[in-house]
Symmetry: C2
Subunit: 387 residues, 2 copies
């Protein structure tokens, strides 16, 4: 298959050593080599989550990890406050309602982040603590919005609800402090900022999270966090794990720490700023509101008169550059360009120049090469300056 430059928000372009690790021969998933492997993954993920609690690995996508959190943490009929800022936040709410939870929505206009004051006000009004759970999204790829998790943590304050955070497309790309922010269960997945092929979800659970899980009675089996913990203590997983993904995660986590979290954050931030600089110069309206921009994906309005599908097809067919389209009500209205994966500044530059060319050819005159140069200027910042 021809190598494509993936600028979709997952699966992302993976580094060669990570891909090469995928081809290693199978081992016994109940043997000592696998136990050492899973221990390295769990241990290596803890600082990325910002936790000294437990991390378990599930053989699923991020959605499976979110279902694991919901079905392991709640009991039938409990009320949860869902705070979606797009498709993935609504999906998390849908998981909760599928299991018969009483889901209340804290509404946020599309393109905005959750207003911490609105969350705080709603929780203040819940003097009787009827709200048993709060469902948050760290980073929402459908809108290119990133919530201010420190502010949301402060807004929750001492409210005793179990806090579940979808950080599938956020974790690793910017600072995250699960313990300091008092989050109970945080979910991420292999194919995002860690830049591993999809197939594994990683779920971090703190001590209060485990207390809530111990009391929960919703049905859970394959995605049961209790079973995951029980087997994690033996250096195993309850069910046959995706061994190859574990090999790749092991390599990717070592690479992550070798690069250093601060540099990884700077890289994502720089690429996101470059794309936004390009968009501003090319007169492409950014969908996310100022102050709510994601560092892992930039959502841009399609210029009037152009078609998202044609832009994406031309980029893909002629330049091997793959952008994301809009989802749900944003289908056809936006295109999305991600920053995650093994992308060099040169890759991003090539992506932006290709994007400018296609936009111009399809009639958007503002996408001049000057626009691509605006993006390039951000990419050319030294790493030191970007820190």
């Amino acid at each position: 298959m021809a190598k494509q430059l993936l600028f979709i928000p997952g699966p992302v372009t993976c580094a060669s050593p990570v891909l090469d690790a995928m081809s290693q021969p199978m081992i016994d998933h109940r043997g000592p080599e696998f136990a050492a492997l899973v221990a390295r993954i769990e241990g290596g993920m803890k600082p990325i989550f910002g936790t000294s609690g437990d991390v378990v690995v599930l053989g699923s996508s991020g959605t499976g990890g979110l279902e694991a959190a919901v079905s392991s943490a709640f009991s039938p009929g409990q009320k949860v406050l869902s705070c979606p800022v797009g498709v993935f936040g609504k999906r998390l709410a849908k998981i909760a309602s599928t299991y018969g939870l009483d889901v209340e929505m804290l509404e946020t206009p599309l393109g905005s982040a959750v207003d911490p004051d609105a969350l705080a006000a709603r929780l203040r009004a819940d003097a009787g603590h009827a709200i048993a759970g709060i469902l948050l999204t760290h980073n929402e790829t459908s809108t290119g919005v990133q919530n201010d998790m420190a502010a949301l943590s402060a807004a929750i304050g001492t409210h005793p609800a179990t806090v579940i955070v979808d950080s599938v497309s956020g974790l690793g790309a910017s600072a995250f402090e699960m313990d300091a922010w008092n989050f109970d269960i945080v979910v991420t997945a292999s194919q995002k900022a860690l830049a591993v092929p999809p197939g594994a979800a990683m779920v971090a659970i703190g001590s209060r999270g485990w207390e809530r899980v111990a009391r929960a009675t919703l049905p859970a089996f394959y995605l049961d966090l209790r079973k995951a913990r029980e087997f994690s203590e033996l250096g195993q997983t309850p069910w046959t794990p995706p061994v190859s993904i574990a090999y790749a995660l092991d390599v990717a986590i070592a690479r992550y720490h070798a690069e250093g979290a601060v540099r990884v954050y700077a890289r994502h931030d720089r690429y996101a700023r470059a794309i936004r600089a390009f968009a501003a110069a090319a007169d492409l309206r950014i969908f996310s509101q100022p102050g709510a921009h994601s560092v892992t994906v930039v959502a841009m309005h399609v210029p009037a008169g152009l078609e998202a599908s044609k832009i994406r097809a031309a980029l893909r067919d002629r330049f091997d550059v793959v952008l994301g389209g809009g989802q749900a009500e944003l289908k056809g209205k936006i295109v999305r360009m991600g920053t995650m994966g093994d992308l060099t500044p040169e890759d991003v530059r090539y992506g932006l120049e290709s994007f400018a060319t296609v936009l111009r050819e399809q009639g958007h005159a503002a996408a001049t090469s000057a626009a691509a140069i605006a993006g390039r200027a951000v990419l050319d910042e030294t790493l030191v300056a970007a820190r």
Copy 2:
């Protein structure tokens, strides 16, 4: 990692072209290349299942596939007749009871296959059709038992219960005729007879199966077969799929059909007969009853005075040969030697000779080289003769 010869019943030794496929770069899982890939996998699996119905691919182990079947096919409180012949059959029953189904057990002594007459008698007694589901295991790796699925199909006859079959460790290794046998949902996984790394379950659903699924109300989200079907029609999966496993499945299914099902069946049968011939000559009692032997794994009693863990450790540490141990009440009592995976007759011969050496060294005098020769004789049968 040193290459081991895996004789555990999954994960299994994978062929180099299958492992190499795992290292291919990522592609957009909502793009045309992935659609073509998933269509080849679904189409290639149909003859292996023996169905003209649908096949969907899930990002989970086989256990996840079984939960998908149960949670997608039933409604709260429905009665199911579970017919376990070991640990994995009991696990399927446990999935059903986790979801609040009313699970009745049809008991079978460990080491035996389900008695078709007992099943027929139980269903005849269910004149009011209170039994909404029947849970069967094709092949049970914990005991080395394989059920006669044609006979169980005949025993079910016209009873209208939804029939779910766990063929995780069976499918592909011997003839399976889902449509002819009137099974509604059949589940398998990548890391067994197909000899692909773990990470994907394949679920086949017939037209009556879909009717039952449409009426079912148990909660299902990540493992919801309805969503899997909806996205399969678009050449997609509802959630980000394990793309690399799909690459490997694609290669492995092509290899399967190139070898030809009849030859694949003969290979597994020959290896299983070789291990049983070895066991008989070495005075190792086979756990499965005559007529109930699996072609994918042979379970053998540990000789009196020997320890399973020591036998397995010596084989692993000195010969890189990995056998399975016993599970649950059979822990320490049996060792299990599988036949699945990319194993040559020479590999099986080496495995048996190593096994004989270790048994002899640990005090089991009957495991002479003559015993290994008995196994070798079966392996030396020509492929034509084995057909």
